[in-house]
Symmetry: C2
Subunit: 355 residues, 2 copies
């Protein structure tokens, strides 16, 4: 088991007021976790230290060759003042899948989880309590060799930072409008689309700006080969409820395997709702829309948990889903998951981990 | 025109000995160029300062969302002690093409070139003179907003660092062995393959490690859609000389538009050598190899200028090119370009720019 040294800050910050909206990802807590990697010592010097700037050589490989990865999860405070994490071992496992693809050394799952727990415990007073709030946890790894040449770095830093957050979408559970992208491509099989790494996100920005300018909040990506199979939304996986069945694109190699995505599929099993992962073309969705069987569309992700989709824009076609209102399945899923996360609903799945 | 303030180091480093090989990208000079961007002031505070670490918030967007880009060019010292750059405005233009795709604010071409010139001038004693050496110039931009959410950053740093280098391939002009990748994909049309950004390089590492382990020095990528059209080599564009004609893959949207690639095409025009950019399948190359018309294969890039390819490994097939020796065209191209770069051959093309 990892041994973590804790150096507390001498100058704690003032806690943000929960009366004002907590803008996602802008406020950070008093401490951060850091662990270094080098070939001789492996991952070493695990420590919680005061939140501070990172100083790197300008030749550090992360600035040039994109060898970086991240994860995202949340901590919640329950009514009886316990702090819960939601399926953190899933993030740790996915982190290692990313690491393997990007030639970054893996971190033992239990060390990853222990690092998260220790940091959250240190900054436990930062876990907000107001409805819809949580403590967002951002683990990430960066390549630090001071070297200009393309090869995996020999040295790395694993860092965790914490940010008290309100809702990811300030508009809350109001359905969002989604733009279906037909010019740009996010990822392709054989590439890095199934990893959580910066390169996938920067690739998405131009399209996202285009969608925002047209009044849409996110982009739905089609596959890079046929340009017709549905992949995922910017920061979310996507689900459709068609004629009573819940469907989502199969993990074909270019889609991020979301923890919330997996949670939907598990809950469908528990609830006896037919659900499947498969290849879904945009034509099929349009057909279902036309014949009136497209009941619900929603995105899932750690940041937002669930985002009902009220409108899909596909070229000159506009698909209004469920009259632009949140559907029953989306509502039930949101209530159940947030209920479990906040300790208000009994966790029969063993998903929550107490800090 | 950009106004650059210069703050010289009080503690200059010892110049590296040119008798030892200068390992590519490991030694850095006394100074660096920095310029900041924010929406109010645009690009501002251009300065040459002592080479030092960069200190950033751990939430800086470059660490999470891969919004980063780079360029690479070289400065050469001539026999009469002048310092020459090679087509630097091409790098500045390509930088802006990358910037546009990645939602990074553009830099005026003349400011980019002026920044390079000013920094090289400041560290002019670092330009090495031994045969095969040069001063490698690495301009790069990183996104610096302290924000965890996917959107283009509002703030950036443009930095230039310098590294005296020997040959990129220590084996020199000896032909290299290339592995043709058929599992992983580097980029796809609609993605970011034609930009010079970290995400493309990290995507290539796993394949490169596999190729190295099998004794190959680089990877040749096939297209991500059909998995049969030739794209580029890890750090180079690729050329084939077939039956007297020079061919290279067309810039289809997923290939980096190399400055040296363009130089080959320009020289072919000047020399009356038939040359074309087109879609080239790996089957065509194998066919040319089988019928004895595959005369030369070579990679081109700023770092190596030219790398003759002596062997291509495609699944269970091994293609030995030109008996594993450097070809006449490759040799003539190398001698001409390096001759122009070093001021030994008259520059009839206006490619060199004196610092």
């Amino acid at each position: 088991m990892i041994n973590i040294r804790i150096e507390k800050t001498a100058t704690p910050k003032t806690l943000p007021s929960q009366d004002n909206p907590l803008n996602f990802g802008t406020i950070f807590t008093d401490h951060m976790f850091i662990m270094n990697y080098d070939p001789q010592n492996g991952w070493n010097d695990a420590r919680v230290v005061p939140y501070e700037k990172i100083c790197l050589e300008p030749s550090s490989m992360v600035f040039h060759y994109g060898q970086e990865m991240f994860e995202g999860l949340k901590a919640y405070k329950t009514g009886d003042e316990r702090i819960l994490l939601f399926r953190p071992e899933k993030n740790a496992q996915r982190a290692n899948n990313t690491n393997k693809r990007l030639c970054i050394p893996e971190i033992p799952v239990e060390d990853f989880v222990e690092a998260v727990k220790t940091l959250v415990k240190t900054d436990e007073k930062w876990v907000p309590t107001k409805e819809g709030t949580s403590l967002y946890i951002r683990p990430f790894i960066i390549a630090t060799d001071p070297f200009l040449g393309v090869r995996p770095s020999d040295t790395y830093m694993f860092i965790i930072i914490l940010s008290p957050v309100g809702a990811y979408y300030p508009e809350g559970l109001n359905p969002v409008r989604i733009w279906i992208e037909d010019e740009y491509v996010r990822a392709v099989k054989g590439g890095i689309g199934e990893t959580k790494t910066g390169g996938n996100y920067v690739a998405s920005m131009k399209s996202q700006v285009k969608a925002h300018d047209a009044g849409y909040s996110q982009v739905l990506w089609l596959d890079g080969v046929h340009r017709k199979y549905i992949e995922e939304v910017g920061a979310m996986n996507i689900f459709f409820k068609i004629n009573g069945e819940v469907v989502t694109p199969a993990l074909s190699g270019s889609i991020l395997p979301g923890v919330t995505r997996d949670t939907v599929l598990e809950l469908c099993k528990a609830w006896g709702v037919p659900a499947s992962e498969k290849r879904i073309s945009i034509d099929e969705i349009y057909e279902a829309y036309e014949n009136g069987t497209l009941e619900e569309v929603f995105g899932t992700g750690t940041a937002a948990v669930i985002s009902p989709v009220g409108e899909l824009k596909w070229g000159d076609k506009t698909l209004i889903v469920n009259d632009g209102k949140i559907g029953d399945f989306s509502r039930k899923f949101y209530d159940t998951v947030t209920g479990i996360q906040l300790g208000n609903i009994k966790d029969e799945f063993g998903w929550t981990v107490e800090v």
